[in-house]
Subunit: 416 residues, 2 copies
């Protein structure tokens, strides 16, 4: 554990969330306070910005704008999806990172993202250790998928979950308004873990959610799905609301989205088809059950809906950034910030801890199978008890002309 | 002008909005206060509920729940899309309405909806006048399409516009986050009038909206569209955000959504295709320009997103309901409530007036062509000045467990 003196580099990576910038605000404000940190840089488009020597001098920003980041969605510094090769295979990128870090005397590195980003964090950390370049590196977790190992939950999940639950309640009222039935199929993000789709159950427990919920954790059978939908619709004047994860897979492990598209393409003499899972499932229901069917995709809105962010999530995301900086300055490295739920006094509290970053890299935490009930179509009360404390409170940008006033960064390119 | 004594009937009709229940709250609370009104009934599923003698006794509801209607989206009493035949062709429905009105001594009728609903209102009014049944009838306007004639704007529009503008700002930040380009095509509701799609321009004027906006008011050319998109994308590192109305039409007056679906169906040997306009335009762009393209539909969310309702809209919708009741009790009939903008003291104020309901029935008000600029791809400052005062302030349901606490009506079927 070394107390280093030098500049710090911060980067954002992977799919944006409503609160990744809240973590940025936590990192930046805390780093600017530390006397051991001589400069605070924000990488443009994550690791790509380091490789390209494109990063911003955060010391040149107004503090007020940095604080507005707390309620500004998406990644203000830009993001990337860039996977580093193993250094043993090709160390070109690592040498370049080392070169840039040396040039700017970067002794602190904070990287904010999900599994892939923690993989980057881990690889850079291990490489710099191997070459003896002293740099304290801490990963800051972020993902609407909530699938990072070793942490109770991930910043970004709760706000997306709040969007999903609130919107499901509103959709329930809308989709059931007519005297005639309608089957509504809502597609929710999450490739391999069903946490976000499960949030539709929070609305169900309020009596205004999905009737049926399908997660990737349970193999998907089209025949069972059709029978489930028909049963619910028959019992409810033709009305049925389904929440389905984009990541549902067949028994054989094939994504249903791809299987349905492939079937349609084949059916149509090889023409490829656009159109998401919701639209394809809606078509299937329409053909096999009939009636009015509507497919809805929450698309990007579920991950950038900062106007309905959870106050708990925003504060925890900020705290995660702040904690990363404090830990690094105290000499910690090669770690990721994790959240530990503390219910010792009967109500929800969250403690921030550190975990070796390699444990988080490329692992996935899925929804416990025992929380998936009703023959694989609903979440149990245990899930509700888990998720509900995370979505409490509202936190949003101030209004200007009735619209959100998001942060406006100057983005001054760092000079050497 | 007759001051009648008797029961009142209220109905909601057509597509739901975020604030149609705010008008319901205005009608119901005001009607319950009037000593000339002996009972307050709410029709289940609009005019259908009257024909089926299915309506609720609103006097049996808790006042607190009625007030929660102000922030509860969709139509709490249920809606319908039921078009009355001309009485000269078939007066069966009218005789039935008269029978029910007589049975319950209904002397006040308030109907809340858009063009088609005002047509219903007008026809019922004219029929009852023709048979000499005294009943004061006032239409309460509502439509996210904002296309009713004779009123500055319609309740429901502003909240949907606020959803569109806010979400476009969030999407802009999300869709432009990567170092690589993405063309994003967002489909917004509005079959014949572009008011709601135009709201994307409010975000554009904040620097975070659509680059290109296409309304049904201007004939759509796919070639020009592709050239526009390519020009913007080429100038912006492959990034371009498009807002497009579901109602755009070709020079020949054919809906582009239908033309594209038909072309695909033909191309695919007669198989019909599901998938909306955004998906089809995205496919076109992908084939003709290439790169990453994403189609997004705001779908039902734009009309039921009560969590982001405009405070101005909620209050005006409530006031419209209240005004309808007061006018009817004062002896007015065969009218619709309209809004008149008053900028006499330099800031926005809205006066409520009455207009003959037949003027509103089945007419459509479109966006002035002189407000559509940049070769048919953007809205002028005049539009921004028109729309901005309407979306001011937040108004939303109280939170319960971090989720909206919507009204829960008992819906006690009215006894004769």
């Amino acid at each position: 554990m070394k107390n280093l003196v030098g500049a710090c580099m911060f980067g954002q990576s992977g799919g944006p969330t409503s609160v990744i910038n809240a973590s940025a605000a936590g990192v930046i404000t805390e780093a600017l306070k530390q006397k051991n940190i001589t400069a605070v840089y924000g990488a443009a488009h994550g690791i790509k910005g380091i490789l390209d020597e494109q990063f911003f001098d955060m010391g040149k920003e107004d503090l007020q704008e940095i604080m507005l980041l707390k309620n500004t969605p998406s990644s203000a510094l830009g993001s990337c999806r860039y996977k580093l090769k193993d250094a043993s295979v090709d160390d070109t990128d690592y040498k370049r990172i080392l070169e840039v870090f040396q040039k700017y005397n970067i002794r602190y590195f904070f990287y904010n993202g999900g599994n892939d980003s923690m993989d980057t964090c881990n690889k850079v950390s291990k490489y710099l250790l191997s070459v003896g370049y002293e740099c304290n590196i801490i990963g800051v977790p972020k993902t609407i998928d909530n699938d990072l190992y070793g942490t109770d939950h991930c910043p970004g999940y709760a706000s997306a979950a709040k969007y999903v639950a609130t919107t499901m309640m509103e959709l329930n009222l809308d989709a059931k308004v007519y005297d005639k039935g309608q089957i509504t199929i809502v597609e929710i993000m999450g490739r391999n873990a069903g946490w976000l789709t499960a949030a539709a159950a929070l609305a169900s427990y309020k009596g205004l959610g999905a009737d049926l919920i399908y997660l990737p954790e349970i193999p998907f059978s089209a025949d069972k799905f059709l029978a489930d939908v028909k049963r619910v619709a028959d019992a409810n004047n033709g009305k049925c609301i389904v929440a389905v994860s984009e990541g549902i897979k067949t028994e054989e492990g094939v994504y249903v989205a791809e299987a349905l598209s492939a079937a349609k393409a084949k059916d149509n003499f090889g023409h490829t088809q656009l159109g998401g899972l919701a639209a394809n499932l809606a078509q299937l229901v329409s053909e096999r059950i009939g009636g009015k069917v509507r497919g809805i995709e929450f698309s990007l809105m579920q991950r950038c809906g900062a106007h309905i962010a959870s106050a708990v999530d925003v504060e925890e995301a900020f705290l995660a950034g702040q904690t990363a900086v404090r830990a690094a300055v105290d000499g910690e490295t090669d770690k990721m910030v994790v959240f530990e739920r503390d219910m010792s006094d009967g109500s929800y509290k969250c403690n921030l801890k550190l975990m070796p970053v390699d444990l988080a890299a490329n692992t996935e935490k899925t929804v416990p199978l025992e929380w998936i009930v009703n023959d694989g179509t609903m979440l149990s009360k245990e899930f509700v008890d888990y998720a509900l404390p995370l979505i409490q409170g509202d936190s949003k940008a101030p209004l200007e002309d009735g619209l959100p006033r998001f942060a406006r960064l100057k983005k001054v390119i760092a000079a050497h």
